[in-house]
Assembly symmetry: C2
Homo-oligomer: 325 residues x 2
């Protein structure tokens, strides 16, 4: 359905499949906030000319281990995949590759790019700036995005996949509380004046808060610098929201691939990672904790389940998708 | 005093100066937990043969952009400086350099290494595993360290320096609460059974908690993998404590240097960073916030003040240092 909807507006099959695969992957992982529910907005933006259907993605600067990519204002997924694949190619030759990307768009879940390194027996790191939604620590106005960071690390069994926003929660969680008429916990957000709030309506007009105060604020800033500042793209308040139909988003990304076998024989790495995973899985549990999960483990299990049982989609989202066909 | 104390036990002047400079830098920054107060333990470990005075630091594997270093069980500062300098050298030629290090020791503040990249107009990233002090999320036993990560980014005026433990607080803060007979806030630590505690005595026997639950736990794990697992060194429960005099610590580090001018002309980068800094500094403030600080700004101001006014050192620490001479 997603591929068809994208082909209908003129996206090449190959690129439509990349965007669709990324969105469906998020739904398989159980992260519906970044799944197919995003497609209607993507399509609307493309129809209005805010996303290029046939982007010219160009290497602007290059060296043996790094590159700067102009995303040509293409779909974030199409640009992001090119960027990570280029980082992997460079890492294969020199041990590590890094690609900073400007002029892109919302790229879905950051893990979609970090996990691309896994099949090459590499460690993948992916990050992106996003529209301002978070105040810097001490501030009362959104300057930084929820700027996610993802790490993917291979093991013999299943990979370790960390994918985290640098904000305490995603805006989506506050929107859900608003729709349900529920309060939000203190610490998630501040209102327009910068005061802590538990009212989701006030929080939606205010700012998200970073994880652990200055630490999350600092991490978000670093992501913005490696993505937006270093690439020559948009950063800070200049990054556009996917819901602002007056302008392109000009989102920036940063990708790193680390070629494990340049550091240590791959089998030895796997033995060691497996040992560390076993240590963690066998850790005595805190009271009322049934199981200790590795980063990404819940998502990978959900993926297995949903590949068998299907992805639950609410009627509203499903009807919106039908309307795109 | 620190250099003399180290020379007295046989450390070369050059290496003694590196260790001393790192410890004093921490004190200048106001981070006394990682300052000269650490020297008596360092000296004691060296005297017992747990740290090599004349380490053979060797490149074990190498490629144009990466290296694995055997730290020869030298002082973490001596090894860490070598590692970051090698990463910088590689980044100068290829755009990015990464060095994973095993068989090292406590290296002081992570920022000491990330800031070394600044004078080369590079972005520095430094991290290290540390002795188990934190339970993985959901666990009740220490497997992961407080595993710090530091980023240093140049600007026209003063650099952005983020240096953060992946635990909510350092163990030192709990020790201080214990000495003062104060309670600790909930969320800092759990007791031996894995239950939340506000009693510093119980916390010292239990585990620290990660920042933001699964996020900090995941970040700490990633640091351990990039440092310990990827280098072929110690990781997880196998990393030794500086206070355990029965064995070497076998700490591992990971350093990255990113050569800005390979991505974007340096002056343009500086203009852009300055703009982002201005945006943040001019952000409307939350109520009762006098000023918005950038990562590292408090430390850099403290450094200026202490360079003029001196470093306050408590009598106990000072006497211990005198005893080393």
């Amino acid at each position: 359905m997603c591929v068809k909807a994208l082909e209908k507006i003129g996206v090449d099959k190959e690129n439509a499949e990349i965007v669709a695969d990324c969105l469906v992957k998020a739904d398989l992982y159980g992260i519906s906030s970044h799944g197919v529910a995003r497609l209607p907005t993507y399509v609307e933006r493309a129809k209005r000319g805010l996303i290029e259907l046939h982007p010219e993605i160009r290497v602007i600067r290059e060296n043996s281990s790094i590159a700067v990519l102009d995303g040509g204002n293409g779909f974030g997924q199409v640009v992001g995949v090119k960027a990570m694949d280029l980082a992997v190619e460079k890492a294969r030759r020199t041990g590590i590759g890094a690609v900073s990307v400007y002029n892109s768009n919302h790229f879905g879940i950051a893990a979609y790019y970090s996990i691309r390194a896994l099949k090459h027996s590499m460690i993948g790191i992916a990050m992106s700036n996003t529209a301002p939604a978070m105040a810097p620590w001490g501030g009362a106005k959104s300057i930084l995005g929820t700027n996610p960071i993802s790490f993917a690390i291979p093991s013999s069994h299943q990979p370790i996949i960390l994918d985290m926003a640098t904000s305490k929660v995603a805006r989506g969680k506050i929107r859900i509380a608003l729709e349900k008429g529920e309060k939000i916990p203190e610490g998630w957000a501040i209102d327009e004046l910068g005061l802590p709030t538990t009212d989701p309506a006030k929080a939606m007009k205010g700012c998200l808060l970073p994880i652990e105060g200055p630490k999350g604020s600092g991490l978000s800033l670093v992501v913005d610098i490696l993505s937006g500042v270093l690439s020559g793209g948009s950063f800070g308040r200049d990054v556009g929201s996917t819901e602002d139909f007056s302008r392109p988003t000009r989102i920036s990304h940063f990708m790193i691939a680390i070629n494990i076998s340049n550091f240590i024989p791959l089998e030895y790495f796997m033995t060691r990672i497996d040992k560390l995973i076993t240590e963690i899985k066998n850790c005595p549990r805190a009271p009322n904790i049934e199981r200790i999960y590795l980063p990404g483990e819940i998502e990978l299990e959900e993926e297995k389940r949903r590949l068998k049982e299907g992805i639950p989609i609410d009627d509203n989202t499903f009807n919106k998708l039908l309307n795109l066909l």
